[in-house]
């Protein structure tokens, strides 16, 4: 939460959001739209049609030069060496103790140039961490030059195809086109997102975002495209089982405790955190982050204690009512022996024990 005295930053779409009737809240040092018409309505628009998000608060860092690849191979757990130009990946970036600095996406935008898209709240920390290990690579923070909007939902490809001649149907998930024309503006384009639906992330120059936004809304009007705030972004990502840095993962959790073991590429050689993580893998992590389905209508929120027959075993890290599944869902850390799908636990909601059951992630998967 922000204090009154903190100066909040605004994206180039701020007045556009006000015009749409958005409710603006402080988020990670920014004034951001939490909702326009209502979280559930916006959520359902993305699942059934399409939604447009302003995520310009996210940070963008360019790492380039001949030393860029060795630097990134060492900094993150996933293997950047596998990326061809125009490909991206999702990865945690770890401390030597295996704790997570941030989770991010990395796109190879030129033979020796990579674009890192990082969380808003951690941009400064990430930048300092990358620069500290720079070792001859060039590191540039372009967060103030590049805006970011996400077009998400089953209608996203059709909507975007009206505004570009780019071969969208050739783009697979995590494919990117570093420079492409959309609605007459030069942008970065990737097939990616944080909703569990098909969609694109579009990075125009900072001041071009309103033009891109307007063109997309106009092109998408017939398909029911609507602006979507951070409220629905959170319910969408939680249904899709995506981690939220600061809630589900942070400096005290490891990728192996979170369900991110698939992002740790052991065969690539050394990387920061490897030694600790290898030991954790050998012994098995003592706790695991699991999906939980919550009985009843009360929401199991972040910090609520998890118990097994009354004994404290962990805590909820994220929780919401799922608009798609119409049940309450949550994520939380529990001891390894209670992490199996079907395990029965309780969450303490305002003094009451409410039954929860460990559930396979993701809670929701889009139909192909």
């Amino acid at each position: 939460m922000s204090s009154q005295t903190e100066i909040l930053r605004r994206t180039s779409l701020h007045s556009t959001h006000l015009h749409h009737g958005a409710r603006i809240v402080p988020f990670a040092g920014w004034e951001m739209p939490v909702q326009y018409t209502g979280i559930i309505e916006e959520h359902q628009a993305v699942r059934s049609r399409a939604g447009l998000f302003d995520v310009s608060h996210m940070g963008e860092i360019v790492v380039e030069g001949p030393r860029a690849l060795p630097l990134l191979r060492r900094l993150v757990t996933n293997d950047v060496a596998q990326l061809e130009v125009g490909r991206g990946l999702y990865t945690p970036m770890c401390y030597p103790n295996g704790g997570i600095v941030d989770d991010l996406t990395i796109f190879r935008v030129a033979p020796a140039r990579y674009l890192l898209v990082v969380n808003a709240a951690t941009t400064a920390k990430d930048l300092a961490w990358v620069e500290d290990h720079r070792g001859g690579a060039t590191v540039r923070d372009i967060s103030r030059e590049m805006a970011l909007v996400a077009l998400q939902g089953p209608a996203a490809p059709r909507i975007l195809s009206a505004l570009t001649t780019a071969p969208l149907n050739e783009l697979r998930a995590f494919d990117a086109i570093p420079k492409v024309n959309i609605a007459g503006r030069r942008v970065f384009l990737s097939r990616s997102g944080y909703t569990g639906e098909d969609g694109f992330e579009i990075g125009p120059a900072w001041d071009d975002a309103p033009a891109i936004w307007g063109a997309l809304l106009e092109a998408g009007a017939a398909d029911g495209l609507v602006p979507v705030g951070l409220g629905a972004r959170d319910t969408l990502r939680l249904e899709a089982g995506f981690m939220l840095y600061g809630n589900d993962i942070d400096e005290t959790t490891s990728p192996l405790e979170a369900p991110l073991g698939w992002t740790v590429k052991w065969e690539k050689g050394d990387f920061i955190g490897r030694e600790t993580l290898a030991r954790q893998r050998e012994q098995g992590p003592t706790r695991k982050l699991v999906g939980l389905t919550v009985e009843g209508r009360a929401v199991a929120r972040q910090g609520y204690p998890l118990r097994r027959e009354g004994r404290p075993v962990g805590a909820v890290t994220s929780g919401t009512f799922s608009p798609t599944l119409q049940v309450n869902i949550a994520l939380g850390y529990v001891p390894r022996d209670l992490a199996a799908v079907g395990a029965e636990l309780e969450v303490e909601v305002r003094g009451h024990a409410v039954p929860v059951r460990v559930t396979r992630l993701p809670f929701y998967r889009a139909r192909k």
Partner: protein, 128 residues
């Protein structure tokens, strides 16, 4: 948006006097701020509530908030529909979205509540 014949609390509940009893709900301002109510926890009929003390909990997708009793007394009725259809609080906060009917124990407490005008001033012009 803020009917003249209701009494209001600073915590955004309304109270309507009905034959010596008081019907209770939350204001349109509160319903809009919360948006998308997904759960409400209300006291059982027969329990007592105390003026400006929490009597229940309301949850939206984003947040959980306490509900404060506008008056002290005994709970005579609880809206039975809200358990299954909490969204009525958003759709019709002064009508189908009512929460409790309270048997007043101290009618003088009504003096402590705000008029519609005072409530509009509290929330700043009445525009949420």
């Amino acid at each position: 948006m803020y009917p003249e014949h209701l009494h209001y609390t600073r915590e955004h509940e309304w109270a309507r006097i009905e034959n010596g009893r008081v019907r209770v709900g939350i204001t349109q301002f509160a319903a809009e701020r919360l948006s998308d109510v997904v759960f409400i926890e209300l006291p059982a009929p027969g329990s007592t509530v105390k003026q400006l003390q929490p009597f229940g909990v309301i949850e939206s997708v984003k947040a959980v908030s306490d509900l404060y009793a506008p008056v002290s007394g005994t709970v005579a009725e609880v809206n039975p529909v809200l358990a299954e259809r909490p969204e009525l609080i958003n759709k019709d906060p002064y009508g189908d979205g009512w929460m409790l009917v309270v048997e007043l124990s101290n009618p003088a407490e009504l003096q402590e509540l705000m008029s519609a005008d005072e409530y509009r001033r509290l929330i700043g012009d009445g525009e949420a």
